[in-house]
């Protein structure tokens, strides 16, 4: 049972980080299609940082910086130049795949993976290995902190206002663009932590290692209706389904492909509003001039 929970938490970790970034971004009105790209770029930066810096904390910092930089690129296009968020979002994901592969060849002369990285814990995947990993604690705290910022601070209030009704926010003196800039950078940094976690969990960077996790995080953000506690539950639910599938693999009860579908199916059902309709922030994706 403890092993099951530990593994669920381990799988949920990148989702928790990235969907925290997703909540921040979408609540401020910027579509979170870029989470996948943030994570991938950050994962590569984390690998670079810890490989050349010799310290996993440097890797974490590099990961946050890489994710935030990718977020700022998104901001440059969609906040400064008011480009279409969907198009830029998809393109940033393609960009992330290409650029990490290119620099993987350039720095490590490999087309598939980086050398082994020590990370925070050398071996072991069980419960005790998990609690010794400081990133796990950060991950558990990420969504509660986002909830606190969103609901209890002035910045959070402004962020929600900017995401729901930017004109109204502007009329009461909220610097709409500045709040959005801050939100994309924060979102990139948070998703970047998810990428860094992934690199240290697998002890190396591999080509396209995020493997759709950013989209699962986006699914969790939507399925959790942009509300941090619910989003956290959604992340844990998706991770638990995956864990269960791994445990049942021998039994061949449900094909793994059907378990993979769960987050996506639930998100579509939530959006279609069959049970309780998920209503996005009103100004999500809209161009603000």
């Amino acid at each position: 049972m403890i092993a099951f929970l530990a593994q669920t938490l381990r799988i949920a970790m990148p989702y928790l980080f990235a969907s925290a970034g997703g909540v921040v971004s979408e609540r401020a009105g910027l579509i979170g299609l870029t989470l996948e790209g943030y994570m991938l770029i950050a994962a590569f930066c984390a690998a670079l940082g810890s490989y050349f810096g010799g310290n996993p904390w440097l890797g974490v910092l590099a990961g946050i910086a890489g994710g935030a930089a990718a977020g700022l690129l998104y901001g440059l296009c969609c906040i400064r130049y008011r480009a279409n968020q969907v198009v830029v979002g998809i393109a940033i994901n393609l960009f992330a795949i290409g650029i990490t592969r290119f620099f993987l060849r350039l720095t490590f002369d490999s087309s598939s993976n980086s050398p082994r990285l020590a990370g925070f814990i050398e071996t072991g995947t069980g419960f005790f290995a998990l609690v010794r990993n400081p990133l796990v604690w950060l991950g558990v705290l990420s969504l509660p902190v986002v909830a606190w910022v969103l609901y209890k601070t002035r910045f959070g209030l402004r962020m929600r206002a900017v995401g729901e009704h930017p004109i109204a926010a502007l009329s009461v003196g909220v610097p709409v663009q500045r709040v959005r800039w801050f939100a994309v950078a924060l979102s990139g940094g948070l998703a970047g932590l998810g990428g860094a976690y992934l690199v240290f969990d697998q002890h190396q960077f591999t080509d396209q290692m995020t493997a759709g996790r950013g989209f699962i995080a986006l699914a969790a953000t939507i399925f959790g209706r942009w509300d941090p506690p619910r989003v956290a539950l959604a992340c844990l639910l998706f991770a638990a389904a995956e864990t269960l599938q791994i445990h049942l693999q021998g039994a061949q009860l449900v094909p793994s492909q059907f378990v993979e579908m769960i987050p996506y199916l639930l998100t579509i059902i939530a959006l279609a509003g069959v049970v309780a309709r998920a209503v996005p922030p009103a100004a999500l994706g809209k161009v603000y001039e």
């Binding site: 279409n84 393609l94 290119f102 939507i222 579908m261 579509i268 994706g285």
Partner: protein
Amino acid sequence: MKLRWLGGLRGLRGLARLKLEEALLPPVVALLIALLVGDLLILSFGQSPAAVYRQLLEGTWGNAYGLGQVLYKTTTLAFTGLSVALALRAGLFNIGAESQLAAGGFAAALVGLALPAGLPSLLVLPLYVLAAGGAGAIVGGIPGVLKAKFGAHEVITTIMLNFIVLALLNYLITTRYKVHDTLHTAEIKSGVLPRLADFYSPFHGSAANAVLVLALVIVAATWWFLFRTRAGFELRAVGLQPPAAEYAGVNVGGVWWHAMALAGAIAGIGGLNYVLGYKHYYEEGFSAGAGFLGIAVALVGRSHPVGIVIAAVLFATLSQGGLAVNALVPKQMVDVLQAVVIISMATAVPEVRRVLLAVRREAGSGKREASTAPPNRTPLPFSRSTP
């Protein structure tokens, strides 16, 4: 009276020029930025940009094999680009071309396996088109219906459906249809289409095939549908101004899901290029990002059938060019360049329009003629964000 008429004419000419500048400037800006980024990447790898770009051109347009490969990739991209563009004209984002393409290819392979060997191509081709288009239409139509009936945002539902459909196809292939030790189905024996090399031997070895002709036919048909039929007019009206279209009596929800189904069908038929023209079987992962590049093609081609063909050739050249320069720089360079083209294109479109309008306004403010007043800001499909 006469003067006013002349003024009106001048205004129209000005509008036409503005539209042309608006359409052509962003791609030029985007290509220049991509070239610059390309230079930086090449230099970071210690190579000469001139040599790499020359190699890129020689490996694609410099010989018949390279050209054939470019044409093959152009074919798939024309289908997916057209699919994205058609939805875009209705104001919808079709991010699902990737899975629609795969589903179309899979359905065609199933039909092919069921047919007896040796039937003539022309007789069974409609069957294949129906199967591939039908499968694509289902995959594309679901998000369309969800949007029309429940208001579920098509961007998210098409992305999620990509994962669902690809997982489902993976399940079907691995458990039922694959040939042992591979990830593809058995070979189709009936109605496969000839390659270009069969007509002109220097193309030998390249994958270009007769589906290219089908692609051009469908491009022309889409142009005719969009700009010469009532349904196409309604579709564009919904894309530009849904409330206005509704007021004029158009069933907006109906147009939405029809457009998505049609977009899905076009992407699905694109699956024939691989399944019927090239390998003659369905293979896991054959779509290889062509669906996502379709978004780029639609964007650079400004959602116009003619522009899409040009943009498809451009992106196909880049894709094939990556392989040609791989000895000098990692082929992933072109993936980066393609992404840079999309990003700078998306960014340049609204910016160029703003700058052009500002210039226009400045020039117009000196004179008193009404004709030089800035024209109404008719939003192009990509300038408007769907909520």
